[in-house]
């Protein structure tokens, strides 16, 4: 081998090595971004799954509750006045505090503390007349102090928690009367203006209903359209035109579909505003082209020899399609559907336009109840000023990601099942 050839060969090997390194660097970069993103979300969000409680004692005094009956019925307990009892439960933490300063103590628990006092008695009617310990939801400021997210070294007038409240907190903490438990209410509560009470139940259900409506509308329509276009429609200028338009539809920005939903579904058909029904239909306009394209591609990928075999057996076009081509194309169609739904899952803009951005503090039971959705919830919370919402945003993102992962997992399992069956 002469020198020139040797050098030439060396250059070729070097070029290949360099190319592999570029690839490795690219993958490394992508993984780094992902890791930073995940770390950011988890480090900020994990604390949202912890809830802070303040433990105090409550005296269910019949007089203060304004209960006259000797053995009060459920109704009596329901209609009793809990204001004073609850108030006393909090102020008893520092009996020496002058009355006009009471608010400082009351502000340490959520504004719903009176309901919590009431609920405990309704659950345990024999507590009446007794002094019992009670867990009250800490306000989001105390919650943040307890989680260490609240800097104490800034001047008092710039702080939402003043020195007195910090002092009480420290005292309670020393006594072990500040509890940190898994935050069930984050999953069971609807949205709230108070960070300590806000949960994702309404937006989660909204998302579930929207996705179901979206699936119910887009999947059958898209699959039928794909089958017709691929297997039955004559190939001419008109079907070419339709194909081009489907591809265009897939590239339309989602906010445009939101406007369509607003203009047609709400304005013309008068469907209920802010509901998963409208949200789901709007999203299905978006997923429709994605599913059609995926379904057509996987129909095209079915080997023609299978079609020929069925036709040669005397199967009609319809039988060939339904017995062989469509089942064989199902794995591809399903993964296309999941990709479309995953896009829809993360979609915010069209939902904002059809009013799913409204503040909803009830949990929707049906697709025609007002609801938010997870991405919209993230958007709403990220605009809130309270420190307590910062961790909620990250936690909500985590739930959304978990939802996505679960969906992809389900898709994989379904795919796997179909593939096993058909090949």
């Amino acid at each position: 081998m002469n020198n020139f050839k040797k050098n030439f060969l060396k250059k070729r090997y070097n070029a290949e090595r360099r190319f592999q390194w570029y690839g490795k660097i690219a993958i490394g970069l992508a993984l780094t971004f992902l890791a930073v993103f995940m770390f950011q979300i988890f480090s900020k969000g994990y604390s949202a799954f912890q809830k802070t409680w303040i433990v105090t004692e409550v005296h269910y005094d019949k007089e203060l509750l304004l209960i006259d009956a000797e053995s009060p019925s459920k109704d009596d307990l329901e209609n009793a006045d809990y204001y004073d009892v609850a108030y006393k439960a909090m102020t008893s933490l520092d009996p020496g505090l002058p009355e006009e300063e009471d608010r400082q103590l009351i502000q340490m628990v959520s504004y719903k503390y009176e309901t919590e006092v009431k609920d405990l008695l309704l659950k345990n009617p024999d507590f009446l007349g007794k002094i019992v310990p009670i867990k009250l939801t800490a306000s989001d400021d105390i919650d943040q102090v307890h989680k260490g997210n609240y800097p104490r070294d800034i001047p008092e007038k710039n702080r939402r928690v003043n020195d007195y409240q910090l002092q009480i907190y420290d005292m309670l903490n020393e006594r072990g009367d500040i509890l940190s438990e898994f935050n069930i209410s984050f999953f069971t509560n609807p949205d709230s203006r108070e960070a300590e009470l806000a949960g994702i139940a309404s937006s989660f259900m909204g998302t579930v209903f929207s996705i179901l409506v979206c699936l119910a509308f887009s999947f059958p329509v898209a699959v039928l359209a794909a089958i017709y276009l691929e297997e039955f429609a004559p190939k001419n200028k008109f079907t070419d035109f339709i194909e081009v338009n489907i591809n265009n539809l897939a590239a339309v920005p989602s906010i445009v579909f939101g406007l369509l939903g607003l203009g047609i579904l709400l304005a013309v058909f008068n469907l209920p505003r802010s509901t998963p029904l409208v949200g789901g239909i709007t999203l299905s306009l978006m997923t429709l082209p994605t599913i059609i394209i995926a379904a057509r591609a996987s129909l095209k990928a079915v080997p023609p020899s299978i079609r020929e075999a069925a036709l040669a057996m005397g199967a009609s076009n319809m039988q060939t399609t339904m017995h062989h081509t469509v089942p064989l194309s199902m794995p591809g169609t399903l993964s296309g559907t999941i990709i479309g739904l995953a896009q829809a899952l993360g979609e915010t803009a069209p939902l904002i336009l059809i009013g799913m951005v409204a503040f909803v503090n009830t949990i929707p039971g049906t697709p025609v109840d007002p609801a938010a959705s997870l991405p919209v919830q993230i958007y709403i919370w990220s605009e809130s000023a309270e420190r307590g919402f910062v961790e909620k945003v990250s936690a909500c993102i985590m739930v959304l990601l978990a939802f996505l992962i679960l969906m992809n997992l389900a898709a994989q399992i379904v795919r796997h099942k179909f593939e096993k069956k058909w090949s």
């Binding site: 004559p234 190939k235 080997p303 020899s305 299978i306 079609r307 020929e308 075999a309 069925a310 036709l311 040669a312 057996m313 005397g314 199967a315 009609s316 039988q319 017995h323 062989h324 064989l328 058909w422 090949s423």
Partner: protein, 251 residues
């Protein structure tokens, strides 16, 4: 006796003519081999006999093809019924990606041939036996047909084709993807089948045509050059072109 009578068949793919005035008489319960170089139109002709050319949009067939006095090249013909009577085996084994049982039972199912499960079992067993596959698969009928070896797959396709008891079976180079042992098995099978069915086979193997067929037709550039008894074609053809092709001087 003549089973299929083709007269002046012309086939066009768009503006390109693939067959020129082909006239041929295919005898009943015999094996007719169609030979010729690639692209000579023998497969195209074969696909006219069960109207598989319908699948190709740009394909146009002219002329008359009669099977038992039924005009095949007619718009009014019920293609589904025709294909029930004219089975086909393709070049590449193409069993359905379903179980062996379902593969054979598919034809009888869509044509409503079996009245009961027992009858269907019987049809599947008979078809697999006729295709000389029964002994190899009888214990694993619920396995996927595509998991069999190439030769077994092709015999499964033959079993599928005969499950509806067709009068004619068309074979489009059925052994070109198989090894010599599998080929020998298929050829034996063809010999058995011709007692009951008329077989038209397209093949690239001259020796195969000589072994299995009674009549042979030689195609070249879309024309049927010569048609006659296999013996005559291989030993003493009328046309020089046939002679050249058979002795390997071109093609």
């Amino acid at each position: 006796m003549s089973k299929i009578k083709a007269e002046n068949v012309n086939v066009y793919y768009g503006s390109k003519q693939a067959l020129f005035d082909v006239s041929i008489d295919i005898a009943e319960k015999e094996v007719t081999a169609l030979i010729g170089p690639s692209g000579c139109g023998k497969s195209t002709f074969l696909r006219c006999l069960n109207r598989m050319n319908d699948v190709i949009d740009i394909c146009r067939v002219e002329g008359s093809i009669k099977m038992d006095n039924l005009e095949l090249n007619s718009r009014k013909l019920d293609v589904v019924r025709l294909r029930e009577n004219v089975g086909m085996v393709f070049q590449k084994p193409n069993p359905f990606p379903k179980t062996i049982y379902e593969n054979v039972a598919y034809g009888p199912t869509i044509h409503g041939i079996a009245q009961s499960k027992e009858e269907m079992d019987q049809i599947v067993e008979t078809s697999l036996k006729k295709a000389a596959l029964w002994n190899e698969v009888k214990d694993r009928l619920d396995e996927i047909g595509t998991g069999l070896s190439g030769g077994q797959q092709q015999r499964l396709c033959i079993a599928r084709a005969i499950s509806v008891s067709p009068e004619v079976i068309l074979m489009d180079e059925p052994c070109s993807a198989l090894d010599p042992i599998a080929t020998a098995q298929i050829e034996e099978l063809i010999d058995d089948l011709k007692k009951e069915v008329t077989i038209v086979i397209v093949t690239h193997s001259m020796s195969q045509a000589a072994r299995v067929s009674q009549k042979t037709g030689f195609f070249h550039l879309g024309k049927l050059i010569e048609f006659g008894s296999t013996d005559k074609i291989f030993k003493n053809p009328d046309k020089q072109q046939t002679q050249d092709y058979i002795t390997g001087r071109f093609g």
